[in-house]
């Protein structure tokens, strides 16, 4: 054992001397007259302290105090030993903060176990090493940057909380890898239940990836999909669609309750075979004149609670006013009229302030003079102000691809649609390609907080698209997508961790959003919309000023499954020395401080018991 400050050992001389002096010096004693000292003779002989050596003889309290002084002096001399220890120079601790970490299959929860493991890791880190903490939720967040301050790391760890969202581990690992770029042999420690596909393609640079797995397999059932749609055959009636999933190895029966504004209005029993899922439909929900909260509750007590309830908002319905600016297009007019609540007005030229009166304006072959103030579909023409770059017109081209997952392309098959004439375009940033020919995009979309535009660069009559079943479906989808911020059904459903854009009509600069747990968040308004991305809790969010509501649901199959995957550690992908053993200094003063506290406690007990 060596000492960092060996000269501090000399402090024992004055401290010990002071203790001895205090013992040797006469104490102020209480005078007590006794009948005679005859019976006290033995006591006086054993406990009298007239001379120093007698006073100090067999005085356990003195010995304990000298021991405490010795421990104190040893502590401030900073003893250390040299030991071979693992050193990674820098460590990023990635904490899985997804909903599955809230599972209570291990006590008190998976996240608490992960927190305990991370705490132990920090405490055992070699001195001088740096560490950072990243919370892997829907978006990874750096809770604490690289630091050698263990107190700060432990405090950050203590305050870390999981969210009711999915986990984007790959992004978190990439972030951790980027943080560790300057280091030679860093490590990334992932504290997780492994409820995600193994992220093999993530480049973590020189970092060595180490998984610390928590959790056991636990039975769980949850709602993994929610949707609210207007009934196709009965306008004004809505169907609430949910998908129930469970991971049990046996067939089980569940009860799903539908609550509308705190009133139980329907319940369905669902029997799920082992490890399966099933859709459940609650039909014929008629909206009232105000937004109402819909809640589907799964009557089941399992390891994860936040996926047992799904939320939706049932908004009032109204007519959809569409202005068709066209010289005549039967196909288009028919397709637009297919929607039962759509009222189509046809004009030859666009009137002034059309967007204040109509929800959607469709420009068929007529170029709007200026960017429309509202939702618009522009067909067969290419306005100069639209953020695309026009390419050379082409003839007889064929659709080669389309954006399958875009809402406008739902149930739409555009395979081999032929275009006799088209002007392909190159989208600028912010513009999303929906349909492509081999030369470029022929249908794009642009979304702004308060308006949405669709641009079809070819004349639909010069293609076989109107003859396809896909055309009316696509137009219906387009109307629904364009009016989504206003229409009921599609609006107000946000996946947990997703971005919610809150429309804010009027002159508000700031709005307040009431969260499901009762807290309130203040949001800045930009261009009549307030983006909010901290949708970390499932439930109903409500804007205090405008009354706008939206529902956040977990709807993540990976989270509901509560799978526990024990991934093996991965060596660094880049050439690096890896984790190595270094001859490091291990200080012992903390142990001495603990021992000193114990000795002081013993001294206190001895003093009060008069040993």
């Amino acid at each position: 054992m060596r000492f960092l400050a060996i000269w501090n050992l000399l402090w024992f001389l004055p401290i010990g001397g002071a203790i001895l002096a205090l013992y040797i010096l006469r104490l102020r004693r209480r005078r007590v007259e006794v009948p005679a000292l005859l019976l006290w003779a033995q006591v006086v002989q054993d406990f009298q302290a007239n001379v120093p050596w007698q006073r100090l003889r067999k005085h356990w309290l003195l010995l304990v105090q000298l021991l405490a002084a010795l421990l104190l002096v040893l502590g401030i001399a900073q003893p250390y030993t040299r030991a071979w220890m693992y050193s990674g120079e820098a460590h990023v601790l990635v904490l899985d903060g997804s909903a599955s970490m809230l599972a209570t299959d291990v006590s008190p929860s998976r996240f608490e176990q992960a927190r305990a493991m991370a705490r132990e890791y920090i405490q055992k880190m070699p001195p001088g090493d740096q560490a950072a903490i990243v919370l892997a939720g829907a978006r990874p967040r750096v809770l604490c940057g690289l630091t050698t301050n263990r107190s700060e790391l432990l405090r950050t760890l203590r305050n870390a909380q999981p969210a009711e969202t999915g986990a984007n581990i790959a992004e978190a690992l990439a972030l951790a890898g980027a943080m560790l770029t300057p280091f030679a042999a860093p490590t990334i420690e992932v504290f997780t239940d492994g409820g995600f596909p193994e992220p093999r393609d993530v480049d973590t640079g020189r970092a060595r990836l180490q998984y610390h797995t928590v959790g056991e397999r636990a039975e769980n059932a949850g709602i993994v999909a929610v949707d609210l749609r207007e009934h196709r055959d009965a306008p004004g009636r809505f169907d609430l669609f949910v998908v129930l999933r469970h991971n049990s190895e046996r067939e089980r029966r569940y009860t799903l309750e539908l609550w509308r504004s705190d009133n139980l209005i329907d319940a369905q029993e669902v029997t799920l075979p082992a490890r399966s899922e099933a859709p459940v439909l609650f039909r014929d929900l008629i909206p009232s004149d105000r937004p109402e909260e819909l809640r589907v509750r799964l009557d089941s007590r399992d390891a994860l609670a936040c996926d047992n309830t799904a939320y939706a908002i049932l908004y009032p319905v109204r007519e959809l006013k569409v202005l068709l600016v066209s010289t005549g297009n039967l196909f288009l007019e028919t397709a637009l009229n297919l929607h039962p609540r759509t009222v189509v007005t046809k004009v030859a030229s666009p009137p002034a302030e059309a967007h204040e009166k109509y929800d959607v304006v469709v420009y068929d072959g007529i170029k709007p003079a200026s960017p429309p103030e509202g939702n618009a579909v522009i067909i067969g023409t290419l306005p100069a102000w639209f953020p695309v770059v026009a390419l050379q017109p082409v003839e007889n081209s064929v659709v080669v691809d389309w954006h399958h997952t875009h809402p406008t392309m739902r149930y739409v098959d555009l395979a081999s649609v032929r275009l006799s004439k088209a002007t392909p375009v190159l989208p600028k940033p912010g513009v999303e390609t929906l349909v492509e020919v081999s030369e470029g995009a022929v249908m794009v979309s642009l979304q702004k907080p308060d308006r949405r535009w669709l641009l079809v660069t070819f004349d639909i009559t010069s293609s076989d698209l109107p003859l396809r079943v896909a055309f009316p479906v696509m137009m219906l989808n387009a109307l629904r997508w364009l009016t989504a911020p206003l229409e009921s059904g599609e609006r107000g459903l946000v996946p947990a961790g997703g971005l919610a854009v809150i429309p804010v009509p009027g002159e508000y600069q700031k709005i307040h959003l009431r969260l499901p747990d009762g807290r309130t968040a203040e949001l800045n308004v930009q261009e009549q919309a307030a983006p909010f991305e901290d949708t970390l809790q499932t439930g109903i969010y409500r804007c205090t000023e405008t009354g706008y509501q939206f529902a956040v649901n977990l709807v993540q199959r990976e989270e509901t499954d509560l799978a526990v995957n024990r991934y093996t550690s991965q060596p660094p992908s880049a050439a690096a020395p890896g984790t190595r053993k270094v001859l490091a200094r291990r200080e012992w003063w903390q142990w001495l401080a603990g021992l000193l506290l114990a000795v002081l406690a013993l001294e206190w007990i001895m003093y009060h018991r008069r040993w």
């Binding site: 000292l37 006086v44 406990f47």
Partner: protein, 296 residues
């Protein structure tokens, strides 16, 4: 005037209850006058003791004529003599006896007065001696109930003494008091020469009863911590740090003192009684002393 009116030592009602008691003295002790205690002398009571041959001059009334008829020799019948006894009450009046709550000296004087009154009721000759600073303050022997008032007056004015010097006082008692009798010593034995003093008193074959008078503060001292102990008699001081362990040493020393005194008294046919001054006087006299065979 009743004795209780003049002296606070004993109450009149208590004195009445004491009249039924008598001293239990085991060994025959010579007396002066006819009394109730068995004497080593032969005399003229109803209790037969022995025969002896007739010698001229003997009273012919005590010749056993039946024996003469059978043996043709003259034998004289002898009877046990019953006499009074000499009772000596010795009370330690040193400074240490003025300790305790209630005070040890007062308790000892009350016990001495009670024993004295019981003895006077049985027509024994009662003397008293108050010990202080190695000297004995004597009261002449008195007899009969009417002597109670002088006895109480004497016991009611103990001398202001400092130390005990018990061996010197014992030697003085032995030299001054030539009778064999029942000696009642009331002391706390807080003297290093207690052993020597007891041996001196026991040597003349007195029947010694030691009433070891201790206060509850001495039996169970409530002292703890760093103290400066002052000897009340000598003024000597000692520093001690008292703890439960130290107190156990004190208790051991006290027990050794009691055991030593008791063994010594037992060895010479005496009695040893521990008098805890916290117990009521009447309970001590009527219960404790009877249980220990001092009174009957």
């Amino acid at each position: 005037m009743t004795p209780g009116d003049e002296n606070p030592l004993l109450e009149a009602s208590f004195l009445q209850r004491l009249q039924r008691l008598q001293l239990l003295v085991r060994r025959p002790l010579p007396g002066q006058w006819k009394g109730e205690h068995r004497s080593p002398k032969r005399g003229y009571s109803v209790e037969f003791a022995d025969f002896r041959e007739y010698t001229p001059g003997d009273d012919l009334r005590y010749v056993d004529w039946r024996a003469y008829g059978r043996l043709d020799r003259l034998y004289l019948k002898q009877y046990v003599e019953e006499e009074d006894i000499y009772v000596l009450l010795l009370v330690d009046c040193s400074r240490s006896m003025r300790f305790g709550q209630p005070e040890k000296l007062l308790f000892a004087l009350q016990v001495a007065a009670a024993i004295g009154y019981i003895a006077l009721c049985r027509f024994h000759r009662v003397s008293a001696g108050l010990i202080g600073d190695g000297n004995v303050l004597w009261m002449r022997p008195v007899r009969g109930k009417t002597s109670l008032i002088p006895l109480l007056r004497f016991l009611g004015n103990p001398p202001e003494a400092k130390e005990t010097a018990l061996p010197r006082a014992a030697r003085q008692v032995v030299n001054s008091w030539k009778h064999r009798g029942a000696v009642y010593l009331l002391t706390d034995l807080m003297d290093e020469g207690w052993n020597e003093a007891l041996r001196a008193l026991l040597a003349p074959r007195h029947e010694l009863t030691l009433v070891h008078t201790l206060s509850p503060q001495e039996l169970h001292p409530d002292l703890m911590g760093d103290l400066l102990l002052i000897d009340s008699e000598t003024g000597v001081t000692r520093e001690v740090s008292l703890s439960p362990a130290a107190l156990s040493l004190y208790h051991r020393a006290l027990q050794q003192l009691r055991d030593g005194a008791s063994a010594l008294c037992g060895h010479f046919g005496g009695n040893y009684l521990l008098a805890d001054t916290s117990q009521p006087l009447e309970e001590f006299i009527r219960r404790e002393m009877r249980l220990r065979g001092v009174l009957t």
